[in-house]
């Protein structure tokens, strides 16, 4: 037995020595080959731009696919030509109709030309309800996209006929869409979703549906008749809408929006707006293109239009992309490929970086920031990221029904102490909800003010915290979440005399509890989808699915509507600033800090500049060997 062990030892040592070439690390070799090795936290859920919704999927998809415009490598909010050569609003004063002139030499990686029809097909696909995309709402700006995606059949059928025209509000209160809590059964399904047989039944006996009283018999009959007539025809909802996007020719794409959006090119940078190859999807069946077909994104099948194509995908090991020779700008692509490593353990990732195994980490563990700064002073980056960490208050529960209590809790949080002592990631204390960028003026109305906090709490009827009920603070089960919750708990106790209990829950349970509003205070945050304050503000509308605080304000919504109707970017920003000020004056959420990203970057990698959305366009990157000896190893 001992002998076998010795043989094993000898073999492994020999193996180690044979594989050793101490002068070159994996990164050195990769640099020579022009391959970027980067951390990407985890295995993607898929590579279909219309199905996924995560940052790590975005990192790979951005290499494989290209939208109408691409990010500038160093300037936030600047668009460079992508699939479109030129783009402009028809009327610059009122940018609600845009023209994108597509480049004529654009083609898929299999050589098939890309036309405006590919975009129309892709927009329709992501909006098709059966595809069940998480992120379809990113296209709701396009005219009629939302009613189509939400299958608002009644609205589409009736909006142009006499009794409803200009008076659609009259049917408010009717269960048109599904309503899980409604009774009876027909209301639960919603009129929009009733099948032919059900509609016939309803036509015979309208009392099967619980109509609001203000809806007259005539209107009831009209709604049911229209729905039935449509269901019995062979038409699809798609034929019923006046979809805002259309092909004005093979290389001209016209997009009509619901309201003026001066920053539309910014939105089209999002992968939900990317085209997918219809001709490839159709191989799985003409009708199947509207459903989920994961197979088309497998390495042997995928066809894409970006600077890179998928080379190999080893589950949980790596994803590798290589140059796309058919890419329109192939000659200017600076690197030969990218290897993404799905490293979920951030300490492992950082150790792999120190070991010379990768050019770029996804993150840097807070405990290792100091160590890294000492050992690798030029390789540590700390950059502002378009995200805000905040605490939701449940305004439907005592004591947070009172804005004074909410503001008191906000003012009692010592943001800087928390960042300095607990988070240690160089985050910025949040002055408001929207992080600072571009010409939008970030708010500075939030801050630490224990005196003011105590005063407000006393005004609300709880002097020195007396009479305050026990408060539950919901947070996730991560170690950092716990440390942060404990620090805040201590601050609220010390500055307000409040007794806050921490409730840690595992991720899905935490989200579910928050959705159900079974909390007093809940940790939360938001990462911007595109570079505009709206991505942080529109979620606080009454029906905003991500609101979850119970707060709403008609005045706030009027301001957002006003901003939406404003074509002038500057005036629009001012209105949005006003809306944010209003939100903060009522403080349904307590902003804590603005996110930063900490990561390690190898000196061989050139052209990786700070970008607030962190969507780096890979084609501008370059890899050049740095003439420096690595002291490690």
């Amino acid at each position: 037995m001992m002998r076998q062990f010795l043989i094993f030892l000898a073999t492994s040592t020999a193996l180690v020595m044979s594989g050793c070439d101490s002068s070159q690390t994996a990164v050195d070799k990769a640099t020579d080959k022009g391959i970027l090795i980067m951390g990407n936290t985890s295995e993607p859920k898929g590579l279909d731009p219309h199905i996924v919704s995560g940052v790590l999927e975005n990192n790979v998809i951005r290499a494989l696919f290209e939208g109408l415009v691409v990010e500038h490598p160093s300037k936030d909010g600047v668009a460079l030509p992508g699939m479109a050569e030129k783009w402009y609003p028809k009327d610059p004063q009122k940018p609600d109709e845009w023209i994108f002139e597509l480049r004529k030499d654009a083609q898929w990686s299999d050589g098939t030309p890309i036309t405006a029809d590919d975009f129309i097909f892709s927009f329709r696909r992501i909006l098709t309800p059966a595809l069940a995309s998480d992120y379809s709402f990113m296209l709701y700006y396009i005219k009629d996209a939302e009613p189509y995606h939400k299958s608002q059949r009644t609205y589409l059928l009736c909006r142009d006929i006499a009794p409803f025209k200009d008076n659609w509000d009259m049917v408010k209160g009717v269960d048109l869409g599904p309503n899980g809590e409604a009774e009876p059964d027909f209301n639960k399904k919603g009129i929009d979703h009733l099948k032919i047989e059900e509609l016939i039944e309803l036509q015979k006996d309208p009392s099967l549906f619980e109509w609001p009283e203000n809806i007259s018999e005539r209107i009831r009959t009209l709604i049911v008749d229209k729905n039935l007539e449509f269901s019995q025809s062979d038409k699809s909802l798609w034929e019923l809408i006046n979809f805002g996007a259309s092909a004005e020719g093979p290389h001209t794409l016209k997009v009509i929006l619901n309201s003026p959006i001066p920053f539309l090119p910014e939105i089209t940078k999002h992968y939900t707006w990317f085209p997918v190859p219809r001709h490839v999807l159709e191989k799985y069946g003409k009708e199947k293109v509207w459903e989920r077909i994961p197979e088309w994104t497998y390495p042997e099948n995928i066809v894409s239009n970006g600077a890179f194509i998928l080379n190999s995908w080893k589950f949980n090991e790596h994803i590798e992309v290589k140059r796309n020779p058919k890419y329109w700008d192939a000659n200017n692509v600076g690197i030969n490929g990218i290897r993404y490593l799905p490293i979920s353990n951030l300490y492992t990732e950082d150790r792999m970086y120190y070991d010379g195994q990768m050019h770029l980490t996804y993150s840097l563990a807070p405990e290792l920031i100091q160590y890294s700064r000492e050992r690798y002073p030029n390789e540590v980056r700390n950059e502002l990221y378009l995200g805000t960490y905040f605490i939701r208050t449940n305004v439907t529960r005592e004591p947070f029904t009172d804005p004074k209590v909410r503001i008191a809790f906000s003012k009692a949080m010592d943001q800087e102490a928390l960042i300095e002592n607990v988070l240690k990631g160089g985050q910025k204390p949040a002055g408001g909800l929207v992080p600072p960028f571009g010409e939008y003026e970030a708010s500075n109305s939030v801050g630490f003010d224990p005196e003011g906090a105590r005063k407000l709490l006393a005004e609300a009827g709880f002097p020195g915290g007396e009479g305050l009920p026990d408060i539950e603070f919901l947070t996730t089960d991560k170690e950092t979440a716990k440390a942060m919750a404990e620090a805040l708990q201590a601050m609220w106790k010390q500055n307000l005399g409040a007794n806050v209990k921490i409730k840690q829950m595992e991720w899905t349970s935490y989200i579910t509890t928050m959705f159900e509003k079974k909390y007093d205070l809940a940790a939360g945050g938001w990462i911007g989808d595109y570079l505009d304050p709206l991505t942080f503000l529109d979620m606080w509308m009454k029906d905003g699915g991500n609101n979850r605080t119970g707060w709403h304000s008609p005045k706030f919504e009027v301001l957002l509507k006003k901003a939406a109707d404003t074509g002038d970017p500057q005036a629009r920003y001012r209105t949005l600033e006003e809306a944010e000020t209003l939100l903060l004056s009522e403080r349904p959420i307590l902003p804590l800090y603005w996110y930063t990203r900490n990561y390690l970057i190898h000196q061989d990698l050139k052209g990786w500049n700070p970008l607030i959305l962190d969507n780096h366009p890979y084609k501008f990157l370059k890899l050049e060997r740095q003439q420096k000896s690595k002291s490690e190893k």
Partner: protein, 309 residues
């Protein structure tokens, strides 16, 4: 013998079905659903997704459908969190876990068994205390401590060894060592116990009295019986080793099976969870059976076939 095996396999099937039932209902009892994300998804989209995965069917139908599909189509359904068939996920990650587990077991046996034998032979000497203390430490120190220590103090200084990653044969060494050390420690203690019991028996004393040399005494007479407790332990622990370890896999970036157990629960991916749980259960059943057969071969006192009684 054959009857014994068939009997045990049928029992195993029952065990697997019980395992399936428990896992299925526990998975259903978890709060939230696979489509819960931080961003709000419309009810319509969720309903479509539920229908896509058959999660809109009645509980009974879902409960029956999964095992029926396994038998009729060999399908373990599609993972809701990874969007690909569970069978493919297991097929891709199990070979890695198998290689790692086998290496870990090799290390465990090569270290644990000799250590146990030597301890037993030199009972109550410093060799015994020393090796048993090391074994105790091996049992007590968890992989999430051993792993990073190996990374920092060995991999980072030894050229050729990587701190983490998977691809070349060398990459197996550190994770296998981390995974194998605990098993080695258990094996050492079990082997020592087994050997001590055997060494105190009459037939050993007789052999010794007849002048059988010490080496031969151990290898020929004592080892066979002394290893029985260790073998009974190796069966199921082998199954555990080759089905992966979440901690070792995440520390060393090994694309194995262990992480699916944890990630499936976090993502409420009941199909992946059922798939890996059943696969693990299957391995346990088979390995237990193998351990029993091996015990029967090594120990003539254990009769596998009841007819021979």
């Amino acid at each position: 013998m054959i009857r014994f095996i068939i009997n045990r396999l049928l029992q195993g099937l029952l065990v697997l079905f019980a395992l399936y039932t428990i896992t299925f209902f526990l998975a259903k009892a978890m709060p939230g659903e696979p489509f819960t994300t931080e961003k709000n998804i419309s009810e319509e989209a969720k309903a479509y997704q539920r229908a896509l995965y058959g999660l809109d069917k009645s509980m009974l139908e879902q409960y029956l459908r999964y095992p029926i599909n396994i038998v009729t189509e060999g399908s373990f359904a599609v993972s809701t969190s990874k969007g690909r068939p569970v069978r493919d996920i297991i097929a891709q990650s199990f070979p890695n876990s198998l290689i790692l587990g086998l290496s870990a077991l090799g290390i465990a046996i090569c270290i644990g068994v000799p250590l146990g034998v030597i301890s037993a032979m030199r009972k109550n000497s410093w060799v015994d205390w020393g090796s048993m203390s090391i074994a105790m430490i091996g049992i007590c120190v968890p992989a999430f401590t051993v792993g990073p220590l190996l990374q920092i103090y060995i991999a980072a200084h030894l050229p050729g060894l990587k701190v983490a990653g998977w691809g070349s044969p060398i990459d197996i060494i550190l994770p296998a060592l981390t995974l194998g050390l605990t098993t080695a420690a258990y094996l050492a203690r079990l082997t020592r116990g087994g050997m001590l019991e055997i060494l105190s028996q009459d037939f050993i004393r007789t052999a010794r009295a007849k002048g059988v040399p010490s080496n031969k005494l151990i290898t020929r007479h004592a080892l066979r019986g002394g290893l029985l407790p260790a073998i009974a332990f190796i069966g199921p622990s082998f199954a555990a080793l080759i089905s992966g370890s979440f901690i070792v896999e995440t520390i060393f970036q090994v694309p194995g099976m262990g992480q699916h157990f944890v990630n499936a629960v976090i993502a409420r991916d009941e199909f992946l969870l059922l798939g890996v749980a059943l696969f693990f259960g299957f391995l346990i059943v088979i390995m237990n059976l193998a351990a029993d057969i091996l015990t029967g071969i090594l120990d003539p006192r254990v009769r596998l076939d009841s007819n021979q009684k």
